[in-house]
Symmetry: C2
Subunit: 672 residues, 2 copies
Amino acid sequence: METVFIVTALVGLLALISAFVIVVKIRRYDSGNERMREISGYIHDGALAFLKSQYKYLAIFIVVVFVILLWAIDLKTALAFVVGAVFSILAGYFGMFVATKANVRTTAAAMHSQSRALKIAFSGGAVMGLCVVGLGVIGIGFLLLVFPEDTKSLTGFALGASSIALFARVGGGIFTKAADVGADLVGKVEAGIPEDDPRNPAVIADNVGDNVGDVAGMGADLFESYVGSIISAVTLGYIVLGRYGAVFPLVMTSLGIVASIVGIIIASKGNGENPQKALNLGTYVAGLLVIIGTFIVSYLIFDGFQAFFAVAIGLVVGILIGRVTEIYTSADFQSVKTIALDSVTGSATNIISGLGVGMFSTMIPTLLIIVGILVSYFVMGGMGNPTSGLYGIALAAVGMLSTTGITVAVDAYGPIADNAGGIAQMADLPKEVREITDKLDSVGNTTAAIGKGFAIGSAALTALSLFASYAESVSLKSIDLLNPMSLVGLLLGGMLPFLFAALTMNSVGKAANQMVTEVRRQFREIPGIMDGTGKPDYDSCVQISTKASLREMIMPGILAVVIPVAVGLVFGAETLGGLIAGAVVTGVLLAIMMSNAGGAWDNAKKYIESGEHGGKGSVAHKAGVVGDTVGDPFKDTAGPSMNILIKLMSIVSLVFAPVILEYGGLLLKILN
Amino acid sequence: METVFIVTALVGLLALISAFVIVVKIRRYDSGNERMREISGYIHDGALAFLKSQYKYLAIFIVVVFVILLWAIDLKTALAFVVGAVFSILAGYFGMFVATKANVRTTAAAMHSQSRALKIAFSGGAVMGLCVVGLGVIGIGFLLLVFPEDTKSLTGFALGASSIALFARVGGGIFTKAADVGADLVGKVEAGIPEDDPRNPAVIADNVGDNVGDVAGMGADLFESYVGSIISAVTLGYIVLGRYGAVFPLVMTSLGIVASIVGIIIASKGNGENPQKALNLGTYVAGLLVIIGTFIVSYLIFDGFQAFFAVAIGLVVGILIGRVTEIYTSADFQSVKTIALDSVTGSATNIISGLGVGMFSTMIPTLLIIVGILVSYFVMGGMGNPTSGLYGIALAAVGMLSTTGITVAVDAYGPIADNAGGIAQMADLPKEVREITDKLDSVGNTTAAIGKGFAIGSAALTALSLFASYAESVSLKSIDLLNPMSLVGLLLGGMLPFLFAALTMNSVGKAANQMVTEVRRQFREIPGIMDGTGKPDYDSCVQISTKASLREMIMPGILAVVIPVAVGLVFGAETLGGLIAGAVVTGVLLAIMMSNAGGAWDNAKKYIESGEHGGKGSVAHKAGVVGDTVGDPFKDTAGPSMNILIKLMSIVSLVFAPVILEYGGLLLKILN
C-alpha cells in the first residue's frame, strides 16, 4: 500500500517536473519590444501585488483556522489543513507567475506565426494545469505516507484547498469584474476609448483580473474539486473495499496525470491553423488513455469492470456537460442567435431572452448528472450495498476529474491569449498581430465556457461524494425528507446559493463603483492623460480591485463556513445533511443558469458586432452590451462562486463531523 | 360528524349569499356616461370572450382527465375532479363578471368621492373572495356528505381545482403580459401615445388582461391552495386523530369565512381618505377573529391549545411574508431606492441590482416558512408521532389560508382600481378623477405585491401538506437523501421550476411579438386611427392574447402533469417524493425571487418617475423602464406559475398514488 502512495507522489513530481521543463522553454522565447515588456511588467507586477496582499489575509486566516482545528478536532487535521492551503497557494502562484510571463511571449510569437503563439499560450496554461494535479497528488500521497490509514487528516487537506479556493475564486471573481466593469463604463462608454487602451487607468487591473479570476481562480476551484473527489473516493473506498478500494482511485489519478501530460504534448504540437481542434485533440486523447488504462487497472485490481464503468461514466458526463454548454453559449447554435434577434426590440427583451436561455439550459446538464449518479451507483452494486454505491459516485467524480491536468491547461490558455491581445493593443502592434491574438482569444472564450460547465459538473459530483463521506462520518442512517428537520435543512440550504449570489453580485457593483470613481478622478486630475503625455496610475486601480476583493469576500466566506457548523450544532447532523443537499441542488442549478446566461449574452453581443441585426452602434448592439454587462458578474463572479459554496460547506461539515456527532442537535436536546 | 359537513357547506352558502348581496348593491351604482359604458363594455366582452374560448379547451381537458381517472383510479375521484374543476370555473366566472362591472362604477364614483370609489372597487374584489371560499367549502362539505369517510374523492376535487388554476394562472399570466408588453412597445415607445390611450388597439386586451391575470388567475391560485390545504388537513387529521382531527380544520375554515365577511364589512365601511389603512384594518380584524375563535375551538375539540398554536403560527407567518414583501418592493424602503440609484449608470446596473434584490429577498420568507414548519410540527407532538406533526403543518397551512376570503378581496381590488383608471383615461375624464383612481391604483400595487408573497407562502405550505398526504398514501417510510433514487428525484424536481419559468417567459415573448405585429399592422392599415376618426380593432388583439395563452400553456401543463406520474412509474414512489421536495424548494425560491425582483423594478421605475434621479426622460428612467419590462413576466407570469407547478405536481402525485404504489418503480424491478 505504501508503494502506491509513493508512486502517486512520484507521478505528482513528474507533473511538476514537466511543468518546470515547460517554464524553461517558455522563458527562452522572445518577449517582444521594450513597450511590450513594459506593459507585461505592469500586469505581472499587478498580479504579484494582488497575491502579496492576499497572502497577508491568508496568513491570518490560516493561523486562526489552524488554532480552531487544533482545539476542536486534532493536530493531524490542523497540520493537513495548513499543507492543503499552502499547496493550493503554491499552485496559484506558479500558475499566475508563468501566465503573466507567457502572455507577452504569445504576443511576440503572434508577430511571426499563429501556430507558435498558440503553442506558447497553451504551454503557459499547461503549467497551471500540471501544478494543480502535481501538488494535489503530492499532498495526498505525502499525508497518506505520514498518517497512514487515517483519512481524517486528508479532510483537513481538502479544507485547506477549499479555503484558498474561496479567496481565489470568489475574491478573484470580484477583482476581475470590478476592474472589467469599471474600465468599460468610464473608458469605453464615457471617454469613448477602445478596449485595452493604455490611457485607461483601469486597463492593467482589467488584464491582471483575467489572470486573477480565470487562471488562479479557476485553478483553485479545480484543485479543490480534484483533491476533494480523490479524498472522498479514498475514504469511502477504504470503508467499502479496504485497501484495494483506497488504492484504486490513487492509481486512476496517476494514470490521469500521465494521460494529461501526453495530451498536453499532443495539443502543443498540434496544428496552429485550427487552435480549437488542437486543444480538443489533446483533451480527447487524454480521455481515451484514461479509459483504456482504467479498463486494465479495474480488471487487475478488482478482477472486474464495475469500477471501470463508474469512472468512465464520470469522464463521459464531464466531457458532455462541457460540450452541452457550447450549445447554449456559442453563436453557432440557436440560443445565442435568438438572444441577438430579441436584442432588436431593446435591452429588456435581450435580458428576458438571456435569462430564459440560462434557465432552460439547466435541463440537459441536470439530466447528465443524474445519469452519472445512477449508473455509477448501480454499477458498483449500490442496490445491495448503499455505501458501495456511494463509492461508485465518488469514482465517477474522480473519473470526471482525472484529466484535470489538461482541462485546466486548456482553460488557463484563454486568459493568456486574452492578455496577449491586450498587450498587442496597448503596444500598438500591427493589425495582423491583433488578428492572430483575436482568433486565439475567441477560441479561449469557447474553452472558458466549456471549462465553466465542467467546473460546475465536477463541483456537483465532488460535493455529492463529500456529502456521502460526511454521512458516513456522522453515522447518519438517513436524511429523511418526511422528517421536518431534514426538510428545514433542505429549504435553508436551498436558499443559501441565492443569498450568496446576491452578496457577490452586490460586491461587484460596489467595487465597480469605486473603480469608476477612481478612473474618473484620474481622467480629471492627471494632466495629458488623454493625449498620451501623462501616465495613468495603474497601481491605484489594481489596489482598489485588490482591496475590494478581499473585503467583500469576508461576509460570504463567513456564511459558508459558519452556517454548516451552526446548523449542525443547533439542529443536528440530519438537518445539516438536508442543508448540504439543498445547497447542492440550487447551487448547481443557479451556477449553470448564471454561467450559461452570461456566456450566451457575451456571444450574442459578439454576434451582433460581427454585423448581424445592424452591427456595432445599432439598437441591437446597445441591448447586446447591456446583456453582456449583466452577464459578466453572472458568469465570472456569482456563477463560479456557487461551486466553492457547495464544496466548502460539504467539506466543513465533513471536517467538523466529530464535533457535530458529539454536541450536535442542541435544539432537539432542549425540546426533549 | 355529518352535522359539521352540513354546517361547513351552509357557511359556504352564507359566503355566496353575501357575495350576491354585494353584487346587487354594486349594480345599483351609477355606471357613468355613455363613453365610459362603451369602454367598460369592451373590457367586459373581452373578458367573457376569453373565458368562452378557454371553456372550449377546458371542456375537452375535463373529459379527457375524467376518462383517465375513471380508468386509472375510480368513479368517485373522477366525479370529484369534475366538481372541483367546475367550481373553480364558476368562482372565476363570477369574480371576473363582477370585476368588469365594478370597474366602470368605480370610475363613476371617483367623479364624486374617493371613499365611494374605494368602496365599490373593494366590493367588486370581495365578490371574488367570497366566491372562492364559498364554492371551496361547499364543494368539500358536499363531497364529504356524499362520500363520507372517503378522502380519496377529495383529492379528485383538489385536482380539479389545480387543473383550472393551471389554465387560469399560467394562461392568464401569458395573456396579460403579452397584451401589456405589446401595448407598451408599440403604443408608448413607437407611437408615443400614453398608457391606456383608446387609439391603441391593444389597450382593451391590456385591461382585460388585468382581470384575466390578477382577478381570475390569482383567485384560481388561492382557490387551489385553499381547498388543497383543507383537504390535506382533513385527510391527515382523520389518520392521526380520527373524527375530531378531520372536523377541526372544517370548523376552523367556517370560522375563517365568518371572520372574512366581518373583515370585508369593516374594510368597506372604512375611511376613504386612507385606502391602505381601511384594507389593512379589515384584514387584521379578520385575522384576530380567527385567532380568538381558534383558541376557543381548539380547547373545545381537543381540550388543549396545540392545534391553536399550529393554526396561529400559520396565520402569522402568512401575514408576515406578505409584509416582508413590502420591504423589498416598496419605494419607502432601501432596496427599491438602491435599484433606482443604480439606474443612473444605465440598464445593466439596474438589472444587476434588481436581480440581486430578488435573490436576497428569498432569505426572510424562507426563514419564516421554516419557523412555521418547525413550530407547527413540534407543537403537535411531531417528535413522538411524525404523522401528527405533519398534521400540524397542514393546520398551519389552513391557518394561513383561513382568511382567504378577505385576502382575495384585497387582491382583486387592485385590478379593478387599475381598470377604473384606464377607463377614466380612455373616456377623457377630468384630471381630478384620474388622481383619485391613481391613488387607489397605487394602493393596489402594494396589495398586489403583498398578495403575491402570501400566495407563494400558502402554496409552499399547501404543497408540503399535500406532499405529506402523498407520503401517507403510498406508505412511504422515508425519502432518504442518502439513497441516490431520492437524490435523483430531488435534482430533477429542483430543475423543473427553472424549466417551467423558461418556458413561460419564452411564451410571453412569443405572444408579445405577435401582438406587436398586429398593433403595427392596425396603425398602418386602419385609416384615421391616430387622429381618432378610425376605430381600432380591439377584438383581434384580445383574440391574439387569448389564443396565445391557451396554446402556450399546453407544453408546461403537460410537463407538470406527466412528469410526476412518469417518474413515479419508472423510478418509484421515493424518487417521486424527492422530486416534489426538490420542486417545492426551488419553486418557492424562484417564485419569491422573481416576484420581488419584478415588484421592486416596477416601483423603482415609479420612484424615478416621481422626480428622483432626473425623473421622466432621464437615463435613470430609461433604465427603470427596462427593469420594469423585464420584471413584468417575472412577477406576473413565471413567478406565480411556480405556485401552480408545485401544487399541481403534488396533487397529481397524491391522486395517482394508488397507481404508483401498484406499478411504480419499473426501473428497479428491471434492475432487480
